[in-house]
Symmetry: D2
Subunit: 485 residues, 4 copies
């Protein structure tokens, strides 16, 4: 796509695939609203007082229907919003169109190149002369990374006059990041400094992004406060677990129509994502084998009747491979070459480096046959048999299906709204330093409570006497910080 | 679509949506072949002797990728084939294109009108002056119905000179059937007589079709032998059960992206289809309520922890409604009006009359909003709330997803191949009278055996001593006829 | 125990372990009555008319609390009853005591020797000079066998004057049968002829007993009508499946307290019993491997995510072995010698010959350490490691626990009551010949219906129009004979 | 029982039910050792260096077979041990006998009165003139409570000369505690001060005990360091969850033989214990309804398809009630009076005050019928219907079955051994203050690792590169402190 910013009649910038899908997007957004009671309750509770009035929010998070409801919750609370996706395949184009037309500046489409991806990210960060953003909603930490790398480069440039060198790295993606920063430096050598000075804070959605934040906190390089939304119970134990339990089979079925029953499936990693995936596959009738490095998670897997082995033990007998580790180099070229014909290989963990896509792509003589978008059969010259890679090794539930369903994303995103509110409301109080925070438990419990009525659930109330007996307030929070749920 | 027959360069007739999808269809057919070991084994075993040489087969069965593998198994065994779909929404257009281009005369596309549907059926039956078909593969019995109604009308015409009167029925679909027969009568008053004289037999795929056949047998009106494929164990206890367990959530997710976990789901009917649906919904985290007329099936449901209630008891609190009964008038307009906003209503049982679509469509002031094809929101004027109807009340797994997966259809379709072979090989032996037959158990067991290796399963072998002890042959069959599995 | 018949103050004969347990038995019988709605409904419906008035019923069926409720249902309907157990370990002594004291002549205790077992069987058949029985309730067919063997021996004796020779067989149990018949011949050479002439029919409870009956029918040697209760849907698909799902883990836990989660369990056979066992073990967190001879059942196992292998493949890595086959020679000495230390081996199929107990007992140097009754550790001299055998290889759910729970036995036993009524009511009508019959479907459905209310289940009623549409009566039966549920 | 201490031939004190059961106990202990790999590995690793040489350990923890293996692990590491149970019904008398005979001073039997219970506790704490204990293993905190209350009373006595007054409390049990302290004061007014001065620390097993400890820490009244074993992941997420999943149905079946399938079961509380119970009941075929105060746990329940309601909503329609809350006054007399006849009521949470036993016992005209020990039917005079109370409202898995199985207790108890070692090794280092600690994560992971081999599980190893990528050491620990598993 030509990387030209377009404008709505009202003058708002955007770049999406097909504006004509906006009506379709709007219909699906309206369906999703019914399934996202936490967000809708936030609109009712906070909308009237317009707490985000004056706030400019940049978001980098899968531009899906569910995210559309999040964005319109932020705008309903008074914010001005610019948005990009955090994954080249995860945008739902009709969602992007509806939001671009109606609510916020969107730069996202399904199937971006890496170059396009970072262009979109930069657009979402670019609030023009008036400056911004004030707040960041991040997923995976790419926006946060760009600002931090930008600031770093500007400091070097200021001291030495040296531009960052894209050739200094082998990482194709990081090359692009450095190029963008380099170009930015040329026009404004304080661009990222101005941003970081203004940013009140970031709320981060994922394990991977949170890990980066804690590393920066440990290194003392974190430039603004961060709220770790991922580790809200109502996020990590819901979206990761129940979301993947839903969206893994959804992605498998849409991409391959394969019958899961009777198959041997390997799930690499048995964290929350792995637990959700393994549960879904087992329930669908697969025989599930787990690989794990952590003995506690491994023991949990055995207690559910799952076999725990190494990938090498089972690579040639399994039918479906799913990586969920959040680590890299899980399924390597050598593994893939030993797999059965038409074994399915996919990743629902974090980046596409869980699978050795580079090794696969550069294997001499390998042949890629695209069955349909996001579903490729790679044929090895040695055996003339092939394996099926989903979503080019990226998150398959977003690439091949529509990601997590609305209801569970409502939990996650209500945490986002509360985190953004918290950062914004406390922007001048000094409550939040340049550290990583989790939301207090009573807000976590509130998020859950907002979702119960929709399901017809009725809570029991503690008597004062009972509350005293277990030493908790009648209204909660009910659990100590270390409680694991 | 203009109802004009087209021809391939080789002169074979067809009418499909888009011939340019043939390559895509071919790729998916090749994937499916790996998942359909029973059909591929049939090609290996029977292909060399070309048993169907000279046989003209008409098929009326969902024109999907899996059916494509069935069709090409029939042609690999020597048959000439004409095909239509048995459901207006179930055709996969890329499958139809690939088969039309490469293997058989296909008349099918996704989204036929009823008029188009019966035109396609008639085309599939029309073998031209040379006559035919010799064999019928039927699903739901529409092809068989057309011939039987045609013969009936011809007899009346012969006696009385009267044409059938489309206005004699209120049933919109039957009106069309009568019109077609009427037109046929004008050109050849013996058209259906010639067909029934030639037809060696039909093999029927479904419960609904089989029920019609047994009724005709009971009435003495059955015109040719029929093999009841539906009641092969490897069909009814596999495709109905495991197929729906797979394809119900697939259809729900593709159509609505709704989170199943936490929802209240009502499954009307707890036969094999209902069992598969209830299992899938329960495993996905729904609370499932079953409605049943049969106390035995109801008791089975309770043993799985499912609540058994009437539809009236739960109509206003459930989120998802699935009909699986094979009966009519299950969910009526009055039910639908009492449902929660955005309740999902769908049918995976048989015809669209399980849901009162007519009542809905003709309800004054009702508004239909098409979210996307096969997903409609119907808004009631009384409440301004709506419900979501999938696939216009027709089979949602075919309309909203891709039907059952290849592996389980391989079981069903291997039964079809064996049934067709049996009918054809015995065409002159008198073995089959104008009755309904099921396949003998050793063939049923053979179908299962052909599917085990793909799954890595290893059978135990009986010793002669053990076989004698339980009075079965060492090689099977291992169970009495009445065994229920 | 000294084999002396005792008498109650009312003069009724009995032989039980400990009459002082009668009160305890009565309390548990009262609890069970609440869980056995089918039997209690039978008392309400039929009791007033005393249909069994004059009928003498001999029963040979596990003398448990549940059977006690059956016996007292028969007596409540007017019958006179004599009872023995059909398994040396299955009697619950408190149940036997309560019935012996209050209702019927009982000859049964937990832990009979084989000699004692057959003495009890003979006592249950001995109605004294007045003759009897009129009806037989059989489980496994031992009572039926004794009469048939008795008649055979009497015929030989009449012709040749020869007594049966216990030394003519290696089978320890059959030696005892022949001895008993021999002794009987000496006192009355027409004893068993008189019995078979009087017996109106037998209703048989189990797969194993039914198999014997069909063999006799095929051989033309069946001496009286038989009703196959086992193949009532409400028996075979309930008691075998749900009963074992309950009682297998119950037996394992009571006998060994072993944690099932995390273990590897092998289930030999995947019929209804095997399905129940595999489901229970899987749900408890074991990894379950199935062995099967029948490809259809094997394919069903794979569809549930169970691995299907041969015993040899897994004998040295599994922790728990369960036989459910109804066949013999399933787990042999050589298998047991290869097992892990403290592997648990048990049988819930039919006779103790599913496990090679003889081979184990006669293995030179083997050491048996009784942990507690029915739980033995057998130590092999070669390795000094041992395996744990439950219930001496006999039915472990009866030997180590209390058998199936009341509710599911209520289904089975209501079938028994209905079968006995049917035989008795039709004793003069000629309806039943010397063949094996199953109960008609409407009675099967009735049994189910009697159990729904207790569970709070509500049935949907067909309209006349719907019933016509699917060609069934409004009141049922709703399914064709071949329906598999 | 007469409360007289007995002595073994070697002079060790004890008081158990029946010393003749020691051999049976020893056999079961030997079986359990095979199932407790963590404890056996601890013996191998630490036994040779005798780290507990000189340590006197008092334990108050269910005196079961599994605890026997713990005790003998402590003695194998050099400790001298005195033991009592922490529950009046939980002792397995054969385990107590074997340990009393062979390894440690035991004061415990099944079915103690409260008076006897506290006598046993006092005996276990009484190390005679030489003083002791050095270390305490506690479960529920009664031993810790006795010392703390003793010290408090001694301080008052020292100041004011006043004895504690048993009549100052309505709590029957606390009356006894005060009486014991009072008697102790008379003989030695510094008895508990000497103890607390010597005690190096306590390791506490349960949620309830831990809660007390944190309260004392918060109040500043904690007298010695405490290690919270309960919150080791390998304890709380294993024993509570998987242990109860096993032992709840075990207790239900042994106590009542009730069929769980088809029943409506209410689980009060959805913490780890409740999760295990609900899973077990659901898998066994019950329809499970959860009551919860905490919206997060409630939302988790809904995601598993469980209905969340209040007890009042369902009290009259459920068949089985299980309390798991760790709170009091959950099921009150008024609830019980509204229940169905023979509804089963039991507690697996903490104390018997989860159920209003006092209200029940003192209800005018109520009748208690003991079916068998720990299984009582209570009949209400108003309705003449009854409910069934298990284990007199105390922990039903210990009262009616044998508690958690060995394997999962091996996880918990290996944590205990490690905690005791930690306290003892650091007794002079000042590492532990008068606070509550949890074990560091690497020890938690070690406990898990020790249990994997027995299950045949194989761990994957991180490469250095991968470990760096996710910023963990190659050898672990692999997760941040707040990780929830």
């Amino acid at each position: 796509m030509a990387l030209l910013v377009e404008k709505t009649t009202s003058g708002r910038e955007y770049k999406v695939k097909d504006m004509s899908q906006a009506d379709f997007g709007r219909l699906e957004i309206e369906l999703a609203e019914v399934e996202m009671p936490g967000l809708m309750a936030s609109r009712s509770e906070f909308g009237p007082s317009q707490p985000f009035k004056g706030a400019k929010i940049t978001g980098s998070l899968h531009m899906t229907i569910q995210t559309a409801v999040l964005i319109e919750t932020l705008t309903a609370l008074g914010a001005e919003v610019r948005w990009c996706s955090c994954n080249i395949f995860s945008t739902q184009d009709h969602a992007a169109a509806a939001i671009a037309r109606d609510s916020a500046a969107v730069f996202a489409w399904k199937g971006e190149t890496l170059q396009e991806y970072w262009w979109c990210t930069e657009r979402a960060l670019d609030w023009g002369p008036g400056g911004g953003p004030d707040l960041i909603v991040d997923d995976g930490g790419d926006t946060t990374l760009l600002i931090h790398e930008g600031v770093k480069a500007e400091e070097i440039y200021e001291k030495s006059g040296q531009f960052p060198d894209p050739d200094s790295t082998d990482n194709a993606e990081f090359k692009i990041v450095l190029s963008i920063i380099k170009e930015g430096l040329k026009t404004d050598p304080k661009r990222y400094h101005k941003m970081k000075d203004r940013v009140v804070g970031v709320s981060e959605e994922t394990t991977t992004g949170v890990k980066r934040l804690y590393q920066m906190q440990a290194n003392g390089t974190l430039l603004f406060p961060a709220i770790n939304v991922n580790d809200s119970v109502t996020k990590s134990k819901f979206d990761n677990l129940y979301g993947c339990r839903h969206s893994l089979p959804d992605g498998l079925m849409r991409a391959t129509d394969v019958m899961i029953a009777g198959k041997v499936a390997v799930v690499a990693g048995y964290g929350d994502v792995g637990k959700g995936c393994a549960a879904a596959l087992k329930q669908a009738g697969a025989r599930v084998i787990v690989t794990e490095i952590d003995p506690i998670c491994a023991l949990q897997a055995t207690m559910e009747g799952l076999q725990v082995l190494t990938l090498e033990d089972v690579v040639s007998e399994a039918d479906i491979f799913v990586t969920t580790t959040g680590n890299k180099d899980i399924i390597m070229l050598d593994h893939m070459k030993k797999m059965k014909n038409n074994a399915i290989v996919c990743n629902i963990g974090h980046f596409d480096n869980e699978i050795d896509m580079l090794g696969l792509e550069t294997h001499p003589g390998v042949k890629r046959i695209t069955i349909k978008p996001q579903t490729d059969r790679w044929v090895f010259p040695e055996t003339n048999t092939g394996i099926i890679i989903l979503a080019e090794g990226r998150l398959m539930n977003l690439g091949c299906a529509t990601g997590h369903p609305s209801f569970v994303m409502s939990c996650s995103f209500t945490n986002q709204v509360i985190a953004q509110l918290e950062l914004w409301n406390e922007k001048s109080s000094g409550k939040y330093e340049k550290k990583v925070y989790v939301l207090p438990k009573h807000l976590d419990e509130k998020v859950a409570a907002l979702h119960l009525e929709k399901l017809g659930a009725k809570l029991t109330k503690l008597s004062k006497d009972q509350a005293d007996y277990i030493s908790v307030p009648v209204e909660g929070p009910y659990k100590p910080f270390h409680y694991r749920y």
